[in-house]
C-alpha cells in the first residue's frame, strides 16, 4: 500500500487536446454562463445535427431512396456505364459506402414496376411533402405525411402497450404466488415477496384511480400505495445518481488519463 510517485505525461496528440479544450469550455459553465460555453454548446448542436444528417443519408436515404430511384428510372446512364465498367462512381470521388458494404449493394429494382412505385416513389414524394412545412403558404401539405407517422405510431402503441405493459403485467401479478421448494416445502422468501408485490401493485394502482375520494379504508390502502411509490422513486433516484456520476467519470478519464497523463506508480 505505498505510492511511489505521481507522474505527468502531457499528451502530444492534437485530437486529444481538441477534446480536452472542448470539455473545459463546456465545464466552464459550472463557474458561470460564459462565451466559451455558448460557443461550445452551439458547436455541439451544429455538429450533432450535421452528424445525424450524414448518418441518415448513408444508412438509409442513399441505399433505399437515391439508389433505388436511380435504378428505377435508369436515367443516369453514365452511372450505370461506370458500374458496368467496374468503376464505382462513389469510390472514384474518394467516397466509400458506409461500413464497407459497397460490394454487396444492389439496387433492388431493375425497371419501373408497381413495387418500385409503391415502395420508393410515393414515399419519396411524401417525404418531400414533409419538407414543404418550411414553405408557409403550402405548409399544410406536410400534414399528410405526418399523419402517416402519427397513425402508424398510434397503432403500434395501442397493441404493443396493451399486450406488453397492461395485459402481461396484470397477468404476471395475479399468477399463483405460493412457491414450493424442491422438497415440496413452501418457499417463504419467494412467496412473501410475491404477496408483497401483489399488495404493492394493487395499492399503488388505487392511487392512480382519480374517480373517487380517498376516505376511510380506501385511504389506508392509498397511503400504503404511496409508500411503495416513494420507495420506488427513491430507488429510481439512487439509480439516476449512479448514472450521472458515471457520465462525469468518463470525462475525467479523458482529462486526467488521456490529456494530462497523470499516473500513480
Amino acid at each position: 500500500m505505498s505510492f511511489g510517485a505521481i507522474t505527468f505525461n502531457l499528451s502530444g496528440d492534437l485530437l486529444v487536446w481538441l477534446s480536452a479544450l472542448l470539455i473545459l469550455a463546456i465545464y466552464s459553465f459550472l463557474y458561470r454562463d460564459n462565451l466559451y460555453y455558448k460557443l461550445a454548446e452551439h458547436l455541439f448542436v451544429g455538429v450533432s445535427a450535421g452528424y445525424w444528417f450524414v448518418l441518415t443519408y448513408w444508412s438509409f436515404i442513399h441505399p433505399n431512396v437515391i439508389q433505388a430511384l436511380v435504378s428505377i428510372f435508369d436515367v443516369n446512364s453514365i452511372h450505370s456505364e461506370m458500374v458496368v465498367a467496374g468503376i464505382n462512381p462513389y469510390v472514384s470521388f474518394g467516397v466509400d459506402l458506409p461500413w464497407g458494404v459497397s460490394k454487396s449493394m444492389s439496387f433492388g429494382f431493375t425497371s419501373i414496376n408497381l413495387l418500385g412505385l409503391l415502395n420508393i416513389i410515393i414515399p419519396t414524394v411524401l417525404g418531400i411533402m414533409v419538407l414543404l412545412k418550411l414553405v408557409p403558404s403550402i405548409g399544410w401539405v406536410s400534414r399528410i405525411p405526418i399523419a402517416f407517422i402519427v397513425g402508424v405510431t398510434a397503432g403500434i402503441t395501442i397493441y404493443s402497450i396493451g399486450i406488453a405493459d397492461v395485459i402481461k403485467q396484470i397477468s404476471s401479478t395475479i399468477d399463483p404466488f405460493i412457491f414450493l421448494t424442491d422438497g415440496s416445502q413452501i418457499d417463504w422468501v419467494r412467496t412473501l415477496s410475491d404477496i408483497l408485490i401483489l399488495v404493492g401493485v394493487l395499492s399503488s394502482l388505487l392511487y392512480f384511480y382519480f374517480s373517487t375520494e380517498f376516505k376511510g379504508g380506501v385511504n389506508y390502502i392509498v397511503r400504503t400505495g404511496i409508500m411503495f411509490l416513494m420507495i420506488a422513486f427513491g430507488v429510481a433516484f439512487g439509480y439516476t445518481v449512479m448514472a450521472r456520476v458515471s457520465l462525469a467519470i468518463q470525462i475525467f478519464d479523458i482529462l486526467i488519463n488521456k490529456w494530462l497523463g497523470i499516473k500513480v506508480i
Partner: protein
C-alpha cells in the same frame, strides 16, 4: 379538406396496423407498404428538423437585434453543421482510409512544451476527428454536467420532512450505497450485505410500484392513441386552416 384528409389517413393507417396484429396474413402486404412509407417519411423528417434548425440559426445570426455573442455562436452552429455534412458526404462513414489525415512538421518552435502529432492517422477523418474527437467529448461533457447538479440537488433538496420523504431518502441511500463496492466494504464490517438489501428493494418493492405505474401510464397512453385515431385529439394536424 386540409384537415380531413390527414385525419382520415391517421385513422386508416392506425387501424391497418391494429388489424394486422390480429390478421397478419390478410393485411401483411398493405401493412408492409405502410411501414416502408413511414420509415422513408421519418428519414425526411430528420432532414426537416435539420433544415428548420438552419433557418432559425440563420435568422438569429443575421438579425441586428441579437446580441453579438449570440450571433457569433449561431454562425459557429451553421458553419460546423455545413462542414460536418460536407466532410461526411465526401468521406462517408466507413472505416476505410479514403483519406489520410496527417499533420506533419515540427511544431516545437510554436509550442515548445510538447511534441505534437496526431495518433489516428489511418481512419476516416469524419470518424476520427468529427465523431470521436468533437462530437463525442462535447456530448459527453454536456450531459456529465448533470453529475454536478445532482450532487447539489441531493444536498439542497433531500430532507427527511415526513414519513414519505424519509422512505424516499432511505431507499435512495440504500441504492446509492448498495450499487458500489464501498457500501459492501463498509457495511461488511457489521455483517450487513447492503447490495442484497438494495437488490431486494429494487426487485420487489420498486418493481411492484413500477408495475403499477406501467399499467396506469399504459392505459393513459392507449387512450391518447385512440383519441388520435378517432380524430378527437388533433394537435398533430396543427391549428385550424
Amino acid at each position: 379538406m386540409k384537415r380531413e384528409i390527414p385525419l382520415i389517413i391517421t385513422a386508416l393507417t392506425g387501424i391497418i396496423i391494429i388489424v394486422n396484429y390480429f390478421l397478419p396474413e390478410v393485411t401483411g402486404k398493405v401493412t408492409q407498404v405502410v411501414r416502408n412509407w413511414v420509415i422513408v417519411i421519418s428519414s425526411f423528417a430528420i432532414i426537416l428538423g435539420i433544415l428548420n434548425l438552419v433557418i432559425i440559426s440563420l435568422r438569429k445570426a443575421f438579425e441586428p437585434i441579437t446580441h453579438l455573442d449570440d450571433r457569433i455562436a449561431n454562425l459557429i452552429l451553421i458553419v460546423s453543421l455545413v462542414l460536418t455534412i460536407v466532410i461526411g458526404m465526401i468521406y462517408g462513414v466507413g472505416p476505410k482510409n479514403n483519406y489520410v489525415f496527417k499533420i506533419s512538421g515540427d511544431y516545437s518552435t510554436v509550442l515548445p512544451l510538447i511534441n505534437f502529432q496526431v495518433a489516428t492517422v489511418d481512419t476516416n477523418i469524419f470518424n476520427s476527428v468529427i465523431f470521436y474527437n468533437i462530437y463525442n467529448p462535447l456530448s459527453a461533457a454536456m450531459f456529465s454536467l448533470l453529475a454536478f447538479f445532482i450532487a447539489s440537488a441531493s444536498y439542497r433538496a433531500f430532507r427527511a420532512r415526513n414519513l414519505e420523504a424519509t422512505l424516499l431518502l432511505l431507499a435512495a441511500a440504500v441504492v446509492i450505497l448498495g450499487r458500489v463496492p464501498v457500501g459492501d466494504y463498509v457495511f461488511g464490517f457489521i455483517g450487513l450485505k447492503i447490495s442484497v438489501v438494495s437488490e431486494y428493494i429494487t426487485a420487489v418493492i420498486n418493481a411492484a410500484a413500477q408495475r403499477a405505474i406501467l399499467i396506469a401510464v399504459g392505459i393513459g397512453t392507449i387512450i391518447i392513441s385512440l383519441k388520435l385515431l378517432f380524430g378527437i385529439e388533433k394537435s398533430h394536424i396543427g391549428k385550424s386552416e
